[in-house]
């Protein structure tokens, strides 16, 4: 069900967050995050470690439950059902159905080590969506071609370099044909010479019109690809705007200080 109207949310927002709060025990990590990501756009979130940017990303697909606030993906709640003006927690199976439409790429790839590259990619289309095997295989091979790894289809993840593993992880996420992909520091665990090949695949995705939320330290990538740059610090969005403008002329002194340090 879509709640765009009820909450006065622009239907063009793929992700819509207002006042999102999240605590781990007594530690409040998100202290009221406001953010909107338009359909077909790329948002890059930067910020010092511990600023809550990864936690926020994990809240979007309900890997973490939020404590307060409004968080909609394509006009709907991922982990809840609205009824009698209350949010009722959904059973795991229902959350999974909604999560299948939101891809995620992790810092440490998290490929399934006991499956080959091809098996990694077709696993979810086969068993979650119920695609016929031939169709799933064909789609997977096409995705592998897109990320330039057809030759590695029968390799196991441990036989691949970090950059290759991350490209397979992206293909695996794409296999579910998501309407949104979340990237959690996708190049932070890579050797410097392997960062480029992963960013290249991501650029290609962005050009294809995929909606992406990217937590990253790659300022260069953000400047080139992002439609919006978001700077988070201390659990809130400190500044957001056009990446070129923001990198050249940050308004907040905290943004300026951070950008000076990472460049």
């Amino acid at each position: 069900m879509s709640h765009f109207q009820r909450f006065g949310v622009d239907p063009d927002h793929m992700v819509h967050a207002t006042g999102v709060r999240k605590s781990f025990g007594s530690l409040e990590v998100l202290k009221g995050v406001d953010l909107a990501v338009r359909k077909g756009s790329v948002a890059c979130i930067i910020g010092p470690s511990g600023s809550g940017k990864s936690t926020f990303l994990r809240c979007i697909n309900h890997l973490e439950e939020i404590n307060e606030g409004l968080l909609l993906v394509d006009g709907d709640f991922v982990g809840y059902r609205l009824h009698d003006d209350k949010l009722h927690e959904l059973p795991a199976s229902a959350i999974c159905r909604r999560r299948a439409e939101i891809g995620m790429v992790f810092q440490h790839f998290n490929l399934f080590p006991h499956m080959t590259v091809l098996e990694n990619i077709i696993e979810a289309p086969l068993r979650v969506r119920g695609d016929p095997p031939a169709k799933a295989r064909e789609a997977a091979l096409q995705l592998l071609e897109q990320v330039g790894l057809q030759a590695k289809r029968d390799a196991y993840p441990r036989q691949l370099s970090g950059g290759q593993q991350q490209r397979v992880a992206i293909a695996r996420a794409l296999a579910m044909r998501p309407k949104l992909i979340l990237f959690d520091e996708p190049t932070s665990a890579l050797d410097p010479e392997l960062v480029g090949e992963v960013l290249e695949v991501m650029k290609q995705l962005a050009r294809g019109g995929m909606t992406m939320v990217v937590v990253t330290h790659e300022i260069g990538f953000a400047r080139e690809v992002a439609d919006e740059l978001v700077f988070m610090d201390g659990g809130v969005v400190v500044e957001k705007g056009d990446p070129r403008q923001m990198i050249a002329n940050p308004v907040s002194p905290r943004t300026r200080e951070f950008l000076a340090r990472v460049r």
Binding site: N61, L63, A92, S93, C96, R97, R99, A100, E101, I102, G103, M104, F106, H108, N110, L111, F112, P113, H114, M115, T116, E123, A124, R127, V128, R129, A155, Y156, P157, R158, Q159, A169, R172, A173, M176
Partner: protein, 292 residues
């Protein structure tokens, strides 16, 4: 032969550095130890082969005796049945152990504490004597009365007592083994599966358990071998396993030693077969590690 026999240019061609030959270190003490072990082994074999009290011809005579073979069958059946039940039971208890609800994890911890903490033989005799505690086993529903009831002694035969007692004990051990296996799978694996839309059951079956199996199989193989031999305890409550069959023969004929040799040979043979099976299972669940 001395180094002067060789032309210097042959040893040290102009292009590479002079490389002296390598002489491996000698191990005189190791060689002496090997000799000693071989000597002791020869003496033992000689003693075993020439001592008529071992009665080797009788061992051959009883090895495929009908009663012995029936005993082997019962031992194998017990081991298989108990292991299957405790794999299921152990997995259930392990899932309870890792549950976020303390109402599940605390009873599971008590279960493991109790059934690992008491000797198998005590539990065996306890279940065998269940009739002392409960004369009848039945289902009583308030308002409906007794739905059915059987005499405990009819239900708990020695075989059933053995299966229940050893399964409960083994489940306690298996629970810890499975829990360890589950713990060994990185959390990111479950998260990646969830993000692909897998529900918890699918994620457990396709992603977590297959990876946990690598950690679960080696100790489970150990447990199976240990269980095979533990089942010999059932001879104390008159279940006709391998040991009990041998005992019933030598109680009549007093051919104690040859029959115990027969029993040992059978246990060793079964354990050897199991080890081969274990190796195949291990290889199956670590296919990716074999790939280079």
């Amino acid at each position: 032969m001395s180094s002067t026999d060789i032309h210097p240019a042959a040893i040290a061609p102009a292009s590479s550095a002079y490389a002296p030959a390598i002489v491996p270190l000698r191990h005189p003490w190791r060689n002496a130890a090997v000799a000693l072990v071989l000597l002791l082994l020869a003496l033992l074999l000689y003693a075993v082969a020439t001592n008529p009290e071992f009665q080797w011809p009788l061992v051959g005579h009883y090895l495929f005796n009908e009663l012995i073979l029936a005993g082997v069958g019962v031992t194998l059946l017990l081991t298989l049945l108990i292991m299957c039940l405790s794999c299921v039971g152990g997995t259930v208890v392990a899932l309870m152990l890792v549950s976020r609800s303390r109402l599940l994890s605390v009873p599971a911890r008590w279960f493991v504490w109790f059934f690992r903490g008491t000797p198998a033989l005590v539990q065996l005799i306890f279940w065998y004597n269940l009739a002392v505690l409960f004369k009848h086993v039945g289902l009583y529903i308030p308002g409906l009365g007794t739905v059915f009831s059987v005499k405990t002694n009819d239900l708990i035969t020695p075989f059933v007592a053995a299966v229940i007692a050893l399964s409960l004990q083994e489940s306690g051990y298996m629970a810890e083994i499975v829990r360890n296996g589950l713990k060994s799978v990185h959390r990111g694996q479950a998260e990646a599966a969830l993000c692909l839309g897998m529900n918890p059951a699918l994620l457990m079956r396709r992603i977590v358990l297959p990876q946990a199996m690598r950690v679960i199989i080696p100790p489970t193989g150990n447990e199976t071998i240990s269980l095979l031999k533990t089942t010999s305890l059932v001879s104390t409550i008159a279940v006709g396993d391998l040991l009990y069959s041998a005992q019933s023969i030598y109680a009549r004929t007093f051919e104690t030693i040859p029959l115990l040799l027969v029993v040992s040979i059978w246990y060793l043979a079964i354990v050897s077969l199991m080890s081969v099976g274990q190796r195949y299972l291990e290889r199956h669940f670590s296919r990716d590690e074999a790939a280079r």
